[in-house]
């Protein structure tokens, strides 16, 4: 919305030459960004041509990733296990992080006294500054043993006998699996979602809240009737930004996910692999042309997966905001 105000103002004062120069400058800047994206896609496509030609759609649907030609097992690149791992870990991260982030955002902005809320949100935002490899090391040495020894056996105990949920926790708990990958990601995207949600909740007009209170509403009613409906679109947007980070995250996930592309199963206790991990792991030693090309195509697929999520989230935001009539997204 703020963008549209800007352009209207620019049009009204187009007579000012300084303004025109500035407009041209910013237009050039944004075109650089667009050119970068286009160049990126073009280059990825060119470099992945040998792989696209050889494997076609089988690259997306195949589940055998074998870079070595042997008598029985032929060279083949199928990215399905990587795509599966990326989608599953990102969704786990989102499912865990969104309620936590939203809850803390509400607490910090609506319930906590400011002497408490400010330091709490500051500390949580510090999490953003931790480099992802540090999360990975922490994940490997702290989270993995905890998951293997405590969390996963516990989940098996309570969910193991329930028909559909039981399949999610099937198999021996190694601690290095899709679930642990998702948990590390959820911690990493938590501060992103939290700080954005807090900003959005703070944007809710005071009058609306005070109006509700004047009508005799309780705090909960103000929250559920005034604040959340108003902020819904923005909160979903925040979650989607978190998701975008989860999809592309590389190092931390690589260190805890198990890096195994041999099995696609229902169980979250299966060691998995994500697209980003596969690129980071295999790029440096991709020693044949077709192998290199397949790795580049993985990059293209990652871009595709991220776009699909992005488009879906925009669609969701626009649907929701239209229905509630709120227009702050």
């Amino acid at each position: 919305m703020s963008r549209s105000i800007f352009s209207r103002r620019g049009a009204a004062r187009a007579a000012d030459p300084g303004d025109r120069v500035f407009a041209a400058l910013v237009a050039a800047m944004s075109s650089v960004v667009i050119l970068l994206v286009v160049g990126f896609v073009v280059l990825l496509t060119i470099d992945s041509m040998p792989s696209i030609k050889r494997f076609g759609l089988g690259f997306l649907s195949g589940s055998i990733w074998n870079p070595v030609e042997t008598e029985i097992n032929h060279l083949n690149f199928g990215a399905l296990p990587y795509i599966f791992g990326t989608v599953v870990t990102s969704v786990i991260a989102l499912v865990i992080a969104t309620p936590l982030a939203l809850g803390s955002a509400i607490f910090v902005s609506e319930y906590a006294p400011s002497w408490l809320g400010k330091p709490v949100s500051f500390i949580i935002e510090l999490l953003v500054a931790i480099p992802s490899v540090a999360y990975g090391i922490w994940g490997l040495f702290v989270l993995v043993p905890l998951m293997r020894g405590t969390v996963e056996p516990f989940l098996q105990q309570i969910l193991g006998h329930i028909p559909i949920l039981g399949a999610l926790v099937d198999g021996p708990p190694f601690g290095q699996d899709l679930l642990t990958g998702g948990v590390v990601l959820s911690i990493m995207i938590l501060p992103t979602i939290l700080s954005l949600s807090r900003e959005i909740i703070a944007q809710v007009p005071r009058l609306q809240k005070e109006g509700m209170l004047a009508l005799g509403a309780t705090r909960w009613e103000v929250l559920s009737q005034a604040i959340l409906p108003y902020a819904r679109g923005g909160i979903i947007g925040a979650a989607m930004l978190g998701l975008a980070r989860a999809i592309g995250e590389t190092m931390a996930v690589t260190m805890v996910i198990g890096n195994s592309s041999t099995k696609i199963g229902a169980s979250l206790f299966t060691p998995g692999y994500t697209i980003a991990s596969a690129i980071a792991n295999q790029f440096t030693e991709a020693d044949s042309e077709i192998y290199f090309s397949a790795i580049v195509e993985l990059g293209l697929v990652l871009l595709l997966v991220a776009s699909v999520f992005n488009i879906a989230s925009r669609f969701l935001v626009s649907r929701l905001t239209r229905r509630t009539g709120a227009n702050n997204a």
Partner: protein, 367 residues
Amino acid sequence: MKKIAIIVGLVALVASAAIAQAVPGSGLVTAGVADEAKSLTGAGATFPAVLYTKWFSEYAKKIGVQVNYQGIGSGGGIKSINDMTVDFGASDAPMKDDQLAAAKGGKLLHLPMTMGAVVPTYNIPELSRSEKVLRFTADTLSGIYLGDITKWNDPKLVADNPELAKIDRYIVVVHRSDGSGTTNIWTSYLTAVSDKWKNSVGYGTSVQWPVGLGGKGNEGVAGNVKQTPYSMGYVEEAYAVQNKLPVGQVKNAAGKWMEPTAKAVSMAASGVTLPPDLRVMMVNSANPQAWPISGFTWILVYQQQTDAAKATALTRLLWWNLHDGQAYAESLLYVPLPVDAIKKASALLKTITVNGAPALPSELANY
């Protein structure tokens, strides 16, 4: 007087030790020459990067030639030298024929620089206080990594390690997730000793593993093994030594139980016939004193150079690496090349030409 005598004696002792260690042919490259390039670039394998960095910083101090080496991985090193974007490449795996065919600058030479060994490591809580290390054979190692041997109390393992009889636990197999020369040596060994492995998995810097978890880098594998009870993995020898990991013994081709000492690794390349192009994996060596899971790491250079100044600098550098440089290997936990390999590599070095004339300065070429 007595004091001086002791000092003189000590100096003589140190000097003689230094001479005893030095490779014949050392000490010939001692200062810069006028017609050589003052900087060179190289890229490739990460495994020897620590040694190369030491070499090149010493070389810059002594000779005044700056060498910029980037440890970007063997695959990247091969790609860079093939595209001629660097003066030399480096790889832990010998180049395959199709890669050699893609080289833009003609024939590439493989010059071994140092040796590396890969060792099995494991974590069995019950045995953590035991002085005895586990013993593995070609059969049990390939069985574990193929997924045919799934438990620690498998009869094949118990036959060599009676203490495993009570360990009724699944083996958590750990391998490298990133492409690596370590994996190349490990899988080359399994390919050499197991037909089933050869036909179904094969060897390379990354392969499709039938079982197991992947850890990134040596530290990732070691971390996984340390963290996961009843696991086993493989790491570079230097890494296992530095981190005091339990290292299993392996039965070599001659049927002897071996520990991965520097000598045993070096033995893998001596007493066996090396092919003149040195493009060979040293695994499963026939030498009865050899650690069987060993290999070279190479620097890759074009045989026909085009820039005279660079060719002089490059060949002098490589000569220094092959001779004087070997003395730095052991303190950095690398294994010096055996004399036979140095001789053959020097012979290859002498075949490098620039515009038709030998590139190596004559005092070295005639040595």
